[in-house]
């Protein structure tokens, strides 16, 4: 028999880099929950996990860096299922990746510069509020419209691939899996933006890449999730290495706890996601994005109970 007090004591685990003691089951649970969502929506889940880690007291610099490492695991687990179904456009993923690596490098430079100014928390939160707000609102409106239209017409409206500015750019390339013949410039720009977000926000960037792939690049929804996961693995792995070598903020114990929960959750989530309609998935994701955005916006807009914060000179 394990007595409850003893069990409670053993659930606490000391994180060597974050330098605090937290409840191990809480971390496993958070990892699992976010993993389910990540599998369902094909997003890394970082945009939810990173703020949750702030809320439980993990220093923001450690949360961002460690989350990048955890996303490597959940994305890798998720992408294997897509490999088997052949829903990954490797060529498109590769082009996005080139942009992603450039973006991650730029993002780390900005992150470290603002850290030295003591404004990194502001940077991270502003990025969250702006990007989550815009993306969440757009997706919400779009998926509401889609649901309304499909009700009226009695079926989904298939009107993609109209000619836009994307089709008039040079350096065209054929992407067979996606059935596209477009310029490589838009995917590279999308990749750069997502890479910057990955480094600054501790996210994979799926929440912005998935809509960008559908609406800007015009990729079929079927290959979007797998391709996004494929690209995210490499960008977050690169980000992890950059944080580990410049900031020493990757907490491997924290990452292991989160990813054990996360990879299991992601497998379950992928199965749930296959059973749901695309519009339903998108409207749920939009709502979640907006909730996180609202919470972070209120942190910036309302007077904090403690106006002062402590930090080490010239850094975290």
């Amino acid at each position: 028999m394990v007595n409850p007090a003893g069990l409670k004591k053993h659930m606490q685990i000391y994180l060597p880099i974050a330098e605090i003691s937290v409840n191990a089951f809480l971390l496993l649970g958070l990892g699992g929950l976010v993993g389910i969502l990540s599998g369902m929506f094909g997003v890394g889940g970082g945009f939810l996990m990173t703020p949750l880690l702030f809320f439980i007291g993990i220093p923001p610099a450690v949360a961002v860096a460690t989350e990048a490492n955890q996303i490597v695991a959940s994305s890798f687990s998720g992408v294997l299922a897509h490999f088997r179904r052949q829903t990954v456009d490797f060529k498109m993923g590769g082009v996005l990746l080139i942009g992603g690596l450039i973006g991650a490098g730029l993002g780390i430079l900005l992150f470290n510069h603002l850290k030295s100014l003591g404004q990194v928390d502001l940077l991270v939160k502003l990025f969250y509020v702006v990007f989550l707000g815009v993306v969440g609102a757009l997706m919400f409106v779009e998926s509401l419209n889609a649901i309304r239209k499909s009700r009226k017409a009695g079926g989904p409206v298939a009107k993609r691939r109209q000619r836009t500015w994307v089709h008039s750019l040079p350096f065209k390339m054929r992407f067979r899996t996606s059935g596209l013949y477009i310029s490589v410039i838009p995917p590279i720009i999308v990749g750069i933006l997502v890479g910057i977000l990955a480094a600054i926000m501790g996210v994979g960037g799926g929440f912005i890449m998935v809509p960008a792939m559908i609406y800007i690049l015009g990729m079929p929804t079927k290959v979007v999730v797998g391709t996004s996961l494929f690209q995210i693995i490499f960008v977050t792995a690169f980000t992890t290495m950059l944080h580990a070598t410049t900031n020493f903020t990757v907490d491997i114990v924290l990452a292991v706890l989160l990813l054990v929960g996360g990879v299991i959750g992601a497998q379950i989530g992928t199965k749930i996601g296959l059973k749901m309609k695309a519009e339903q998935l998108r409207i749920l994701l939009a709502l979640m994005v907006l909730i996180v955005c609202g919470k972070l916006a209120s942190d910036l807009l309302l007077q904090p109970s403690e106006l002062f914060t402590l930090g080490a000179p010239g850094g975290h």
Partner: protein
């Protein structure tokens, strides 16, 4: 164990040559090991007052401090920016603030210790923090140091334990200090002062070693000394876990 220590301490008393009143100290531990299951620590500090002369009339008091390694810190203050969002607008560097500081006494601070003695020995929390030369644009540097104390007191890193030292028959004293889980590594200093009428009549100093050990030590050292290898190891674990989970689910579905 505790009683045994007491006995040995008391037996040892007569063999030492006397001053008027001196501290003989025991401590439940002089090492704090930060392990994977570390969740804070409690240190019992106890001892005896050794004297050859009769006990004087004035009341004896004991003041015990435990201080972690001191580091400079930057205190930042948020203000409204553009009348809209709360942003760090001003900052002040505090030259030296202990990462942990507890002060325990046998009674209210000013009854126990005079202000000059406090200043000279930097005993109260306020005096343990040193801040020189605030920049000219900061008029209320006091509020910045007050914030350090407030924030760290809330986190259990600074503790004022007035009346928490038990003193029996003006001879045996003991107190316990709780240390939270987010301790900074290093050499901690425990100081014991004996006072009469607010003046310090004797003092004793010893150190407590707070260190990460085992896996914690190994990971921390690796992350600082060989960050590239540490990063690659983190990635390898992530990929293995991702692959493992996927394979396990495949098998579960087939089986």
């Amino acid at each position: 164990m505790l009683r045994l220590l007491f006995v040995t301490l008391l037996l040892a008393l007569p063999t030492i040559t006397p001053a008027s009143e001196e501290v003989v100290l025991g401590m439940s531990k002089d090492k704090v090991a930060i392990t994977t299951s570390f969740n804070g620590s409690e240190i019992l500090i106890f001892g005896a007052v050794k004297r050859e002369t009769p006990i004087p009339d004035t009341q004896l008091h004991v003041v015990i401090t435990v201080a972690g390694p001191s580091n400079p810190i930057v205190v930042r203050k948020k203000d409204k920016w553009l009348g809209l969002i709360w942003v760090n607008r001003s900052s002040l560097e505090v030259d030296e603030a202990p990462s942990f500081y507890a002060v325990a006494t046998t009674g209210p601070m000013r009854d126990v210790l005079s202000e000059p003695e406090d200043l000279r020995n930097r005993i109260t929390i306020h005096n343990a923090i040193r801040s020189v030369g605030a920049p000219s644009d900061i008029t209320d540097s006091e509020s910045f140091t007050a914030a350090v104390i407030r924030i760290r007191q809330k986190a259990g890193l600074y503790q004022l334990l007035e009346g928490q030292v038990a003193l029996d028959q003006q001879t045996l004293f003991r107190t316990s200090i709780k240390m939270p889980s987010d301790l900074t590594e290093g050499d901690y200093t425990a100081r014991i002062f004996l006072t009469r009428g607010g003046e310090i009549i004797s003092r004793y100093e010893t150190s407590i070693d707070v260190r990460k050990v085992g896996l914690e030590r190994w990971l921390f050292t690796l992350s600082r000394e060989n960050p590239a290898l540490y990063g690659l190891m983190s990635l390898a674990i992530a990929i293995a876990a991702g692959w493992g989970a996927s394979a396990a689910f495949q098998m579960a579905r087939r089986g």
